[in-house]
Structure formats: C-alpha cells, structure tokens
Amino acid sequence: MKKLLTLVLMAALASTAVFAEGQQEKAEGPWTPTKGVEWVVTSSAGGGSSIFTQNIVEIMKNEGIVDKNIIINYKTDGGGAVGRRGVSMMKNEAHTLLTFNSGDLQPFVQREGGDLDGLTPLAVMALDGQILLVNMDSPYKSMEDVIAALKSGERLIIGGSKSDDEAIYDAMKAEIGGDMEYLRSDSTGEALTQLLGGHVDMAIAKPAASFDLVSTGELVPMVTASASRFGEPFDAPTFTELGYDIEFQIYRGVVGPADMPAEAVAYWSDALAKVAATDTWKNEYINKFLLVDNHLDADDAKVYMQKFEDMYSK
C-alpha cells in the first residue's frame, strides 16, 4: 500500500492543472461557450498539429479570448480516422473543435469516405511552404538539371512525408513526367535523413524542418511549390517561373462538426481571428516555425479548403 500512498502524494504534488468547473451563467447577447471545450487532435502529442493546437489554446487562455477550460484530446485511432469521423458525426455540438490541416483532409477525402460537408471550417490559421531539396553532393545544381535528367530518362527517387508532400510529387509526375518514384516516410525528418544519407535523389520538405541544414549548405533548395520565392536561405525558383503549373501551399486550420450552430461558428471564427491577430501568435508560432501568416475566417476558410478537397478527390 505504501507504493500507492507514494503515488497519491506525488500525484498531488505534481498536479498543476485543476479542473475548474466554471459557474454557469446564462449568457445574454452573443453566444459564448457554456462548458468546457474539447479540442480533438488526430495525431499524437508532440507533433506539428499538437504544437499548433497548444499554441492556440495557450493564447486563448492567456489573452482571455475564451474563458472556459479547453482540453486537448488526442484521438489517434485509425491514423486519426476515428477522431475525424467522430467529430463530423456530432449533432448540434458547439463545444468541440478539431485541428484539421491539409494533411488531415487528404486521408479524410481519399480513404475515409468523408468530405467537407461533414465539417464546418472555422479558420485557416497559417500556410506552410514546401521546398524541394537535394544533397550538397548531388550532381544536380539546379532544377533545370533535374528536369533535363528526367527528360533523358534518368530514374529519380523523391523522398517526402506520407501526408502533404505527396501531392507535389503527383503534380510533378503529371506536369514534368519522367521516371520518378516516391519514397514515403513517416515524417519530414525521416525524409531528410534519407536525403542526407544519399538514399534518395531529392526530398520534399517544409522550411522549418530543414532550416539549419539549408543554412549550412548541407542541403540545397531547388524549387518551391509556393506562389512566390522564399527569402534566404531558401531562395529558389518557383515552379511557375520554370513554366510548370504547380502551385501549392499547405494549410493549418481548425474545423467544427457539420452540425455546429451558426452562432457558435461565428463565435469560434471570431475567437480564432483574435488569436491570429496577437503578437504572441506571430512571434511565438508563425515566425518560429517559418510559416506564412495567412488567417482566413470561417467563410474564406471553407472556400480555401474546398480547393484542396477538389484536388485530392481528383
């Protein structure tokens, strides 16, 4: 029993969080949350989605944007499929949010038989660029070299993560053609490892994950899929400059269930807009992770995400 006692003591010592059961006042005027909010994240704690969500929740709490408790619930079953389906099935639910990036939309549309009609987009909070890199020892010095090699029938292995990056590969395959294979990795980090070891010819990565390696010249940027060039050290032509119709910028967004009451949609859209306008958000998240600050409210986010759905369901 001593062990248990020790456990209790330690738990008591360590517990920093208290379940604050806020007083229930009937709200007058615009809708506000009436109880604790559950925020579903469909990938594991510590990953990109988790950091994104934690940052928003922190800001909501610290800046007093939302005064009810928000609990982040990591629902990773079925690669996140179960969590996404669960949220989309909720009826008349105003207190559940879901982190929903382009990397979540893709499996949702392609494998889980879902579409955006099952969810209510609330905001796009940031955009993330993608860039194609080669190893410093690579025979290819520029994207022109790569394209020439492809045209002459050379076989190229492109590495990238299993989620967002593949769309770029697909677009390249369609637009440029040639003998290419995509080597899927669990994460961008793994793809970069393969590239550093010379096991793939090129890798698709996000700027934040590759910043240091590109800064030191270990990896060399070849081309970017964004609309415009990145600043140093990622300065490389866009696909459009090279004459290919590939333009692509993945997003980080937030959605609610399809059946979320209109006043709650308005509330959350507004609350997320407030978060995106804070300095903390810009300094501690956007700049730190080299993202593109591009907040869209509920209506614009719907249009934006719809474009992705159309692309994925092609």
Binding site: M10, F211, D212
Partner: protein, 512 residues
Amino acid sequence: METLTLLLQGFGTALTIQNFLAAAAGALLGLVVGAMPGIGSLAGVALLLPLTFKFNPVTGIIMLSAIYYANMYGGSYSSILINIPGDSPAVMTAIDGHPMAKKGEPGKALFTSNLSSFIGGTIGIIILTITGPALARLGLKFGPVEMAALLMVAMTSLGWLLGDNPTKGVVSTLIGVLIATIGFDIVVGTPRYDFGSLHLLGGVSFIPLVIGMFGFSQVMEMMEPAKNGDSIDMKLSLKDSILNKSEMRRLLGPSIRSSFLGTIIGILPGAGATTGSFLGYMTEKKVGKNKDKMGTGVLEGVAAAEAANNSAAAGAFAPLLSLGIPGSGTGAVLLGGLLMYGLTPGPRLFQNEPEFTWGLIASLYVANMITLFVALSIIPFLIKILKVPVKIMVPIITAVCIMGAYSASNSLYGVMLMLASGFIGFHLKKNNYPIAPLLLAFVLAPTLERDFRRSFLISDGSPWIFFQKPIACGLIIFLLLTILSPLFRKLFAMTKKKRPPQGVSDSTLSPA
C-alpha cells in the same frame, strides 16, 4: 582538449542545488509515469514537457532529460514486478526480469535494471561526447537497403526465443507479423487488411495490445487457485536488493557490451530502442557466459536488455543534436522542447553555441546520475508491491489495465482491443504459445518489410541492390554464413566424428 574544458564548464553550470532538485523532481515524476502501462516514454515526455517551462533553460532541460531517463527506467519496473512492459523496449526486460522477481529476487532485478540502464546511458553519452557529429554521419549511411539487411540478420536470431515448442513459437511470431500488416501500407500509400473498419485503418496500436497480452491475460491466470502465485513469502529488504560482488561482475560484461551495441543501433535512423534492446539481448544470448540460463530469470538478461535500451536512447540524441533530425517520436518531442528554449539543434549548434551544447550533454549526464540515485532509493517501496496479496492485485491490475488502455488513444476502442488481446493472450498462454515473439515480431517486422520493399523501389525491382551497397553486402554475406554454418558444421561433424557442438561463437552483430 577544448572539448573537455567546455564539458567541464558545462558541469559547472549544471551542478547547482536548484538544478539538482529540479532533476530529482523530474526523475520522480518520470518514474511514476514510466511505470504506468499505457503511458510510455513518448507520451510521458510529451505530457510532462510543459512542467519544465517554468524554469530557466538549463534547469528546464536538465529536468526534461531526467524525465526522459526516468521514463525509460520506469518502463522496466512494471515489466519486472507485474510482467506488464511499460513500453516496447521493456518487452525484452520482462523475459528475464519477471522470472527473477518470481524467484524472490525482485530487488536484484530492479537494481540490475537501474544500474545497467545507468551504464548504458553513461556509455552512450560518452560515445556521443567523443565522436560528436561524426557518429551521426555514420548513421546516415544506413538507408533502406542497409536497414533491410541489418533487420534480416536480426530476425535470424529470433529463433531461440521460440521456446520449448518451436512450432508454437513460429505460430506466435507469424501472428505478430500478420497483426502488424493491418493498416496503412507506407510503401504504396494505401491501407490494407482494414476489413472496412475505420479503427483498423491506422493499424493495431501497440500499447493496448501489450497491456492485454501481458497484463490482462495474467490477471485471468491469477484466478487459478492451483498456481501458487500468492504473495511471495520472502524477506524483501533493501539489503537483499543490493548486488554482491560476483553479481556485479556478472552485470558488467553484458552491460558494457550491450551499451556499445545499443549506442550504434540508436544512431541508425529509424531503428530505435526496441531494436536496440532486442539485439542487445540476442547478442548476450549468443556470446554471454551465462547464455544457457538466459530466459529463466538471470540478471545478465535484464542487464543486456536495459543497457542496450538506454544507450540506444542516448545514441538517438546524436542525429537530433548534430543534424536536427529527431530519431524517434520521443526525440521529436524533445526537439520541440529545445525549440521552445530558443535552440535549434542542427549542424550549427555545436559551432555557434558550444557552451550550451556541452552544457546540455553535461546536463544529460547529471540527470542520469540523479535519476539513478532516485530510482535506487525507491526500490524498497517498489518491491512491497509483490507482498500485496493476489486477491487485491487482481482488481487493481484490472483497473490499471483499463485506464492504461483508455489513455493510449483516449478511446474505448483501446480498452476493447486490450480486452480482446487479453482474451487471446490468455488462451495462447494456456496452450504454451510464447507471447514475447508475437510482440517483438509486431514491432520489428513492419520495419523490415518497409525497408525491404523500399529497396526494390529504389532499385526498380532488382534484388542485386543488396549486393551493390558495401554495408548491405557485408551483412547479407554474414547472414548467409549464419544460415549455412550449421550445415557446414554437420558436414564437418560427419567427416570428423567427435566434435562438441557448442564451440561456435558467432561474432557480435555489430554492423559495418
């Protein structure tokens, strides 16, 4: 020498009362969380990370590393005491650790585990300190082709694990492999064997599986009266937990061997602590002095698994620090932690911020020492668990299994999966099917399959790629030799009648 000066400076910054207390607190928390089945080191570090932000960077990182180490220590506690591995590397610890506890040596098993973990961590950090970034470069040489070859070598040593009845051992292994094929196939990017279920799309998760197979099935076994599993009636004092001189000597060899092996495995991309502890144990089983008794509850088994496990964790820091690439899920969380402190691990870290980097390495070391100290001092409390009568243990373990399985993915599906695994595991055990090979195959087979198929993707369908790359070629030749050597031995024995069969000691599985 500059390195050494910097390291000593690092110790200077690291060793303050405040840091010491923070590390001790981190160690305690980490031990508790690590010992909870279902939490594991990834979730443990992720959940405790925010606690460290209340301190200045040096203190925070020391606390973070203490939590990390303690999580790894804690994972072996539940596998030794109640035969429920806290995380996947601890499966190997359970093989000898739990039998030791049953024999009445739970304290010694825990002591061995802590000490070997410490040795593993220490050697891992020392190698990291000496070689620095160079080692991470070496790890990069291991791409899909090399990893596939290495894992094929590893798999051939699975054989002895199968137990008394090889048929059942093989059945058990293959079931593990098949369960692991369920879910997303990363090579082609489509799901398979999901049978239309959303839950199966992402595969079967390991934690509920292991809690069920080891933990819950055991609860069901405990209900049998004949099995005298009632509280062990022995004196379980601290004095009996301390290893004597000859035991210390027995511990050192396996620990040191395993530590070197583990560090190397840890550096390889995507290999991880489970592969490390598996290979550490297997090597000991092949070359160790006490190899025949391994599996029956000897401290060499615990030492080899734990030292390899912890050194692999240290080795995994190499790519994180020098390339900025996290080697594991836990590494990714730690990377997140470092970023929060305004540090970007990567090639420039050692050059631009040497003080901090060496300070960090010193912190890792300090944290490891403090964790050892804390861990050893709670052994007397821990072994009391075994004195709790089975009648009380049954409902408590059941409750812990349910909570742990729920927390793994915050869903009832986890609980259902756990109960189903428990049910299956129970029947398998009743029929003498070994469980450990099932779980190990579940962890290791997917990596082998993935890298094997990636190799073909790279070579455009040609198997010769395994002979074109020098490291892979060496490993394949080694593999062929191990497979063929019994054949040759037989031939040899036939021509020259008298010949002891035990004389072959295959060299260790050191890659490259």
